[in-house]
């Protein structure tokens, strides 16, 4: 494993206590008398929510779209990332002339609770202890993330979101929004997601977490206090996870058995193969922008997600009486959140006669397809959103 190269101007690592103040975008601070009641029973306070917006809220506040990011995403949806300098994670979907056009919509994305891009998480200072939370940060759930987002939406004076949209863990939040706040969601687009995390997915997350905690530099979660950082553990976690975001076909097409910068096998454990070099690169760049404890907490939140369990084991009961218009999207080669998961969701929505569209996009690029150039996906989504805008009476500029 290569050590990570130098960070960009706004370094996350080592601990940069000022990061949260230096980031572009908006911040919303809640004091001790405005705590967030978490599922684990803890009242979190004080806390900060960092979010970014694009476009303008219209006069009747009906054009707001809440974008919900995935496990390792953040609020920088459609602009260069302040830490890595790379394009926004949904740059292909969001922007002028694109499917989610700030010319038509007021787009909002909030860094999730427990995250490490400005919203309060385990790397932030625990005011009671005078040191970073680390493992004393309370456990959070998908529902907690959504409760936090509600604070932002309330702050912006938006009664009803035109659309909540997100892929993977973002899709879980979409479902939680639609189930918990149906009157505030006109349209919901859960993409490449599921109403519960499967045993296989929990298993992959556990591998990642164990890689982190096995790193001696993790220091029982106190690495920030110790001035160390579990680069290797977090990078291995990312490498394992990254494989699950792709597909056998896409890996084969991209790399095959091609060798990396060498004419023949080295008969050693260097990165002989391009696919190894690629994964090492994915791991080493990830640790520059992501906090290891955040990774533990957020993966756990996904593992705990089971929408049916909160409704007596009947998923349909989560959506009974809903007037929200749903568009469920899956991708043929996604084996992390396979189409069967989306189909189970659609069956539950049908059982309450919800207004639902369901498309499976043919592609061989796996789970990450929702982040990639998939014109059929974009066209379907644009058609759905246009239909919803018509029903919502949105004025198109």
């Amino acid at each position: 494993m290569n050590a990570p190269s130098g960070s960009a101007a706004l370094g996350l690592i080592p601990a940069n206590p000022l990061l949260s103040d230096q980031l572009p975008g908006h911040r919303l601070d809640f004091s001790h008398d405005q705590p967030l009641r978490l599922d684990c029973g803890v009242d979190l306070a004080p806390f900060r929510l960092a979010y970014q917006t694009y476009g303008t809220l219209n006069a009747d506040r009906s054009n707001a779209v809440l974008i919900l990011h995935a496990l390792t995403g953040d609020q920088f949806v459609a602009e260069p990332h302040p830490v890595t300098g790379k394009p926004g994670w949904w740059d292909m979907m969001v922007g002028p002339g694109k499917t989610l056009d700030p010319e038509h919509y007021f787009l909002i994305c909030v860094n999730v609770l427990g995250g490490c891009m400005g919203t309060t998480g385990p790397r932030d200072l625990d005011p009671a202890a005078g040191r970073p939370y680390g493992l004393s940060f309370p456990m959070i759930t998908i529902a907690d993330m959504v409760r936090a987002q509600v604070r932002v939406i309330d702050h912006l004076g938006i009664d009803k979101l035109f659309c909540v949209i997100g892929g993977s863990m973002g899709g879980m939040q979409v479902l939680q929004w639609a189930a918990a706040y149906p009157e505030r969601v006109f349209a919901a687009v859960p993409i490449a997601t599921a109403a519960r995390h499967s045993a296989q997915n929990i298993a992959f997350h556990e591998v990642g977490r164990q890689a982190i905690v096995a790193d001696p530099d993790w220091c029982n979660g106190d690495y920030l206090v110790e001035g160390r950082y579990p680069h290797r553990g977090l990078a291995v976690a990312r490498m394992a996870a990254h494989i699950t975001y792709l597909s056998e076909m896409s890996l084969h097409r991209k790399f095959g058995r091609n060798l990396q910068n060498r004419p023949s096998l080295s008969f050693g454990f260097d990165a002989d193969f391009q696919v190894e070099s690629y994964l090492r690169h994915q791991g080493s760049t990830f640790v520059e922008r992501f906090d290891a404890n955040s990774y533990l907490y957020i993966t756990r939140a996904m593992d705990y997600f089971d929408l049916a369990a909160e409704h007596g084991g009947v998923l349909a009961d989560a959506f009974r009486g809903t007037a929200t218009r749903f568009c469920v999207v899956s991708f043929t080669s996604d084996w992390l959140f396979p189409t069967a998961e989306s189909r189970a969701l659609v069956h539950a929505l049908n059982a309450v006669a919800a207004n639902v569209s369901f498309v499976e996009i043919p592609t061989d690029r796996g789970h990450d397809s929702f982040l990639l150039e998939e014109p059929e996906f974009w066209a379907v989504l644009a058609g759905f959103l246009n239909g919803c805008a018509e029903h919502r009476g949105l004025q198109r500029r």
């Binding site: 218009r325 568009c327 469920v328 659609v346 069956h347 049908n350 059982a351 309450v352 006669a353 207004n355 639902v356 569209s357 369901f358 498309v359 499976e360 996009i361 043919p362 059929e376 066209a379 379907v380 644009a382 058609g383 759905f384 246009n386 239909g387 919803c388 018509e390």
Partner: protein, 227 residues
């Protein structure tokens, strides 16, 4: 999974498969179905193909329309037009819906391709207060004549496939259908037959219709009608 081949009349918009007769922009059998549907009602179109009927109903009858379509390409095309459509199968995916969820459930040119037509029919009248079912009539005189004279499996405007690649695994005549509906306690509210040109629409369901109707459109309901 059953193979409901919606290439039969619906997927290509029907210009080829259903006799090619259109009125007011949509296929005449779809127009007849649309005429049976009250404005503003909730409609489920099972086997909605490219969404032609749903699109018409939404724009001209202001219905709250949903669709189920077997082919993913058809589904994606529908959703791209802003229609609420899911990928699904008439044989397996209707039992999810609650009873009386819709005013009308439409099954156009698909019944004959289902694995369990009787089960599908009972689901249609359970989910919808009304069901509208259209199908090619195997009692049509040209069908009978082909079998009688040529001794070959019939091929007509509505039955395009060779016997070995047809999706139509449960063909029936109008008389057969009326008989099944009666045995299932389903009320036939209206029965229309179309001749091969689609122009001569007749309101009848007897032996004459069974001989001269190339297609049939039935408006059904579960409860006995007052009349």
């Amino acid at each position: 999974m059953t193979a409901i081949d919606l290439a039969t009349p619906r997927r290509d918009g029907g210009a080829r498969d259903s006799g090619g007769v259109r009125r007011d922009g949509i296929r005449i059998d779809l127009q007849l179905i649309a005429d049976m549907i009250a404005p503003g009602s909730r409609v489920l179109d099972v086997g909605c193909g490219d969404g032609m009927l749903l699109d018409y109903l939404m724009h001209f009858k202001a219905v709250d329309g949903r669709g189920i379509e077997l082919s993913q390409a058809g589904v994606n095309a529908c959703v791209t037009q802003g229609l609420s459509v899911i990928q699904g199968d008439a044989d397996t995916d209707l039992h999810d819906y609650p009873s009386d969820a819709f005013e009308y459930v439409v099954l156009s040119q698909t019944l004959q391709a289902t694995v369990n037509p009787k089960g599908v029919l009972s689901e249609l009248v359970r989910i919808g207060r009304h069901a509208i079912v259209s199908f090619p009539n195997f009692g049509y005189w040209r069908v009978r004549l082909q079998l009688l004279v040529a001794g070959r499996m019939p091929r007509t405007h509505t039955l395009l496939h060779d016997w070995y690649d047809t999706p139509n695994i449960h063909l029936c005549t109008i008389t057969d259908f009326v008989d099944l509906a009666r045995r299932m306690g389903i009320t036939i509210e209206r029965a229309l037959t179309l001749d091969r040109t689609g122009h001569h629409v007749r309101e009848r369901q007897g032996a004459f219709a069974n001989l001269f109707g190339e297609q049939a459109v039935f408006l059904l309901s579960r409860k006995p009608s007052a009349g």
